[in-house]
Subunit: 337 residues, 2 copies
DNA sequence: CTGTTAGCGCCTTCAA
DNA sequence: TTGAAGGCGCTAACAG
């Protein structure tokens, strides 16, 4: 087990060299005689010495940490992202500091300041809204900033997002191809980029097919479970509600399904959903005929790589937005289950 | 926006005092004249100074960070824990460094060393197995260690877990009360504490009711989706499989459900599940009659508080295991849906 | 009440 | 190829 109290000085003493040499060995400096290198390494092993990252950071101004901020940690999507980023970054010695902004601009600001004070080397963020001016974290030091999933305005940054519009469009088109002409929309706050883009995809699919949007059956909520429940309830309270619906995300989908299984029973027989977000449980949800899979793992990996590149100075001064393709999954075991 | 390049020295210069005084103001040291305090604070604001956490940590040996290690980040349960810990800890200025052990003892060890090198103030961990000797992180410095969800052996530590046995027992009893006499068991690796305890609960409920365990229908897998699928498949391949099953966790539940909806159709008509883990989507799963809810939010909060207490030196030398009660949820809208 | 001084552990010129 | 010395930004005695 490493002993945090063993210092470079101890290693130097034990191997009869100076701390400078130990430091060189640690950092693979070429100009160290092989023989001394061996000695020093032996001492390091013997003492169980581990370099103190904090001291090193103070000197090098690099902490080998990446700050990650999300509106909510407790979301499947976010955690898959974290997992894949951690995979990629840990391999290069980076750690992840995760923060929740609780969907609040104020908290988001606070967290960013905290991360700045901790001298994180980079920040990856799912912005809580499309406001982004406060992401200019620190004057004087500009660390790489990468948006993931959602994009905010008012700041230069790289971004990794799904083809939200395309995904929503193809899901809607699939419903149309199945013969549905009236398709409702359970949506999210249009100030959030994903909600806006998915709405666009739905709208364009309908328009292209010559179908009209019915204001009563196009709604915008908050991307949460309760919102899905509420939107579904409100739609079905109207006479002559559509049978097919496009749903903006997984939580809304769960909420809507829940409404149908509890309150909306009488109406549910012919209902069909096409929803964004393919979850492990999506195929098990009763009304789910299509779901749009985002390449979550790839998104995380890509963001991590952009971070690593930027930290190596690769990528130039321009910012890039990587938009990854989604795929449409068709479910259905044996008709209504 | 804070500027990381503004240092204490700049503030001292600007307000005509020494850095020591600035430091005192920052740390709310009582013995500073009100007048100077005001001056210094003004300078701090004016310059947008933010203390450099790294430098501070080097001096104080406290990083205000807590390391969190889990076998897998991408799990609903873990992310709920993280959210609730972050809530509690961030309020006290602590940040979370999250690491994935990828269910590997080797990786777990590596991560712990990394965290030790980063001088985290405490570690909260979901151990990947019941092996825990390697948790004696660093000789010389023993930082608080808290197990959460699962407990490992071979090391002194506080722990926060659910009443796994009680939860499993009451779920099984509910099935028994519903009239089922033959109840199958879809389980996990018994080397993992939760799997072991839940099996105990099931076993005791059966035993107490005078019902016998049927070896063919008591299985142990890996707590993952594929494992649930496989276990269900294997059971239903036997003649005369039971109608009721206790399931060890959410993923296994999803896997088992998935099997029934795809391959096991012919057999599924009368199947009923009682499963550990109440998820947002649990009520939507077709065979789920009971689920056991863990107080996840409270678990996270409790772990965070233990950490905070330990860091304040509260709690004495004894280690405590907090075991929180679960609750049984009954689902069912209108019979088989 | 405030300033001076001396490190925390490491890296990095500059000399040798 | 190696060592000595200084300093990253902050805190904590110890004086005054």
């Amino acid at each position: 087990m490493p002993n945090v109290f063993v210092t470079m000085r101890d290693v130097a003493l034990a191997s009869g060299v100076s701390t400078a040499t130990v430091s060189r060995v640690l950092n693979d400096d070429a100009r160290v005689k092989d023989e001394t290198r061996v000695h020093v390494k032996a001492a390091i092993d013997k003492l169980g010495y581990k370099p103190n990252q904090v001291a090193r950071s103070l000197k090098t101004r690099a902490t080998k940490t990446v700050g990650v901020v999300a509106p909510e940690l407790a979301s499947v999507f976010f955690m898959q992202l974290s997992e894949s980023m951690e995979n990629e970054l840990a391999a290069h010695g980076y750690s992840l500091i995760v923060c929740s902004s609780r969907e609040s601009l104020e908290q988001e600001k606070k967290r960013l300041q905290l991360l700045a004070a901790r001298l994180v080397d980079a920040v990856v963020i799912i912005p809580s809204s499309d406001r982004g001016e406060h992401f200019n974290i620190a004057r004087g030091k500009d660390i790489p900033l990468v948006f993931i999933d959602r994009i905010a305005l008012g700041v230069q940054a790289d971004a990794v997002v799904s083809d939200n519009e395309g995904g929503a469009r193809s899901a809607t088109e699939a419903l149309i191809a199945d013969g549905y002409k009236r398709i409702g929309f359970l949506g999210g706050d249009l100030r959030v980029s994903i909600a806006r883009e998915r709405y666009e995809g739905y709208r364009k699919a309908m328009e292209t097919a010559g179908l009209s949007l019915e204001p009563d059956f196009v709604r915008f909520g908050s991307l949460h479970i309760e919102s899905g429940y509420k939107q579904m309830a409100e739609m079905l309270a109207k006479p002559d509600a559509p049978e097919a619906y496009f749903i903006v995300n997984a939580d809304t989908h769960v909420g809507a399904t829940n409404y149908l299984l509890t309150e909306g029973r009488a109406l549910r027989e012919k209902i069909v959903f096409a929803s964004f977000d393919e979850m492990e449980y999506s195929p098990l949800l009763r009304f789910c005929r299509y779901s749009v899979r985002q390449p979550v793992e790839e998104m995380g990996r890509t963001a991590a790589r952009i971070v690593l590149d930027r930290l190596k100075g690769i990528g130039g001064t321009e910012r890039h937005t990587v938009r990854l393709a989604t795929s449409l999954i068709r479910h259905g075991f044996d008709g209504p289950i």
